[in-house]
């Protein structure tokens, strides 16, 4: 009897929002599962309603209403889990695996489009990276032209110092006959594209170096 009274006192405190954590979980469990708990919960709230409104709202139809509602409720999938609180730690969910199987149906309404949007976003990032990479490559290519010019200028001096032994002096360039041939061909075809069309709009990368 003492335990029953203690449980009822907890239900009273539960109704007033005075319980937390483990105490809340136990009281809610008892009020929801135990017949006396449910009647106590209903009676306490009925008393409060009567004091506030002057009307006792409970009727003989309440039991049938709740029975019908419980049947409908058991057919419903779980709402989405969005809350985490200490009170949930002590929860012992009855038939959780069975209900969890139903929860997979409870997807968000925009799940399908969200997946496509996520893919599109990833593709956009890839595109930006690719463009950035190409742009940096072209920039390096453009910057390379002055570098080539600088290298060509540098070669002028090494030309003068070419006769010197390798490793002597800062502007020394190692000669490569094949490279020389390629450079000479480049000068020859400078100003035209591979398709032999005028390239006035293209920036020429030719240079005039000193003769060898």
């Amino acid at each position: 009897m003492q335990e029953v009274l203690k449980n009822r006192e907890n239900v009273s405190a539960l109704a007033d929002g005075q319980l937390h954590g483990e105490e809340f979980a136990r009281a809610a469990e008892w009020a929801a599962r135990d017949a006396d708990g449910q009647m106590t919960w209903q009676a306490y709230h009925g008393v409060g309603d009567l004091l506030r409104t002057g009307e006792w709202g409970a009727s003989s139809r309440d039991a049938a209403f709740m029975a019908r509602f419980k049947v409908r409720l058991q057919q419903e999938p779980l709402p989405s889990r969005q809350f985490e609180s200490p009170e949930l730690i002590a929860i012992q969910v009855i038939d959780a695996p069975a209900r969890a199987q139903k929860s997979f149906k409870n997807e968000a309404a925009n799940d399908a489009t969200y997946r496509w949007k996520r893919l599109a976003g990833f593709a956009s990032v890839l595109a930006v990276v690719a463009v950035g990479f190409l742009a940096s490559g072209m920039w390096d290519g453009q910057r390379g032209s002055p570098q080539l010019a600088q290298a060509a200028e540098a070669t002028i001096q090494p030309n003068q110092a070419a006769s010197g032994p390798p490793g002597d002096g800062p502007n020394l360039m190692i000669r490569n006959s094949e490279l020389d041939a390629l450079l000479a061909a480049h000068r020859q075809f400078g100003g035209t594209t591979a398709f032999q069309v005028p390239t006035g709009f293209l920036r020429n990368a030719t240079f005039e170096g000193g003769g060898r």
Binding site: S12, G17, F24, A31, W56, A58, M66, R81, L88
Partner: protein
């Protein structure tokens, strides 16, 4: 159908602010349907009274109330606790009732008797009074008897118990405020409120059991 904007726009009665509803919602979202059942038991009467202001037929009131709670359960994960749970439930109930009534109006087989009218001249439409329902005279009498029993039990309580309970239920004071008003510890407030409720419930429960042959 009663489209009186004043009635539909009526704010719900002030609820006693506490976080127990939010905690029960969290348990329900986590998978404990029993927690949601407690919320249904708590607000069933108020929701039905609200719907009863719009719909005359008691069977229809119950159907709409059932649908209201099911819709609330489905949308439970959207309840953030920014407002009181009943405020949120109130809007669902009103919208559900309006949708039901719109659907019914399109059904020529439904008689207007099942619906409230918005005729101010209709003597049965009393916006400031309790909603009319079609319960049997016996059930109406039983409800009145319970009401009288509760009132008598309340008046028979010791002063400190009656004061603690009325401060909580009618004035919506928190345990802390009641403790300060009555100059006693919060634990004493909790005990007094419980003993008051238990004394009144002792008179009410037998009557409840007679009213309902089968529980849950």
């Amino acid at each position: 159908m009663n489209d009186d904007p004043k009635l539909l726009a009526t704010q719900p009665p002030p609820a006693i602010p506490d976080n127990s509803d939010l905690l029960l919602v969290q348990r329900a979202v986590a998978g404990d349907q029993g927690a949601f059942t407690l919320l249904v038991i708590k607000y069933q009467r108020r929701v039905q009274r609200l719907i009863g202001r719009m719909v005359r037929d008691v069977d229809l009131v119950e159907d709409i109330a059932q649908e209201t709670f099911i819709r609330a359960y489905r949308a439970l994960h959207q309840f953030r606790g920014d407002a009181q749970f009943y405020t949120w439930l109130y809007r669902i109930a009103v919208n559900t009732a309006k949708k039901f009534l719109l659907d019914l109006k399109r059904n020529p087989t439904v008689s207007d008797h099942a619906l409230k009218t918005d005729d101010d001249g209709d003597e049965t439409f009393r916006p400031d009074s309790e909603p009319i329902n079609e319960e049997t005279p016996e059930s109406v009498l039983a409800a009145k008897e319970v009401g009288l029993a509760v009132t008598a039990a309340l008046n028979a309580l010791p002063d400190d118990l009656r004061l603690a309970l009325t401060l909580r239920e009618m004035d919506g004071m928190s345990y802390e405020d009641i403790a300060e008003a009555m100059n006693c510890p919060i634990g004493t407030v909790r005990s007094r409120i419980f003993r008051a409720r238990e004394a009144i419930s002792a008179k009410v429960k037998p009557m409840l059991e007679r009213q309902t042959s089968k529980r849950w």
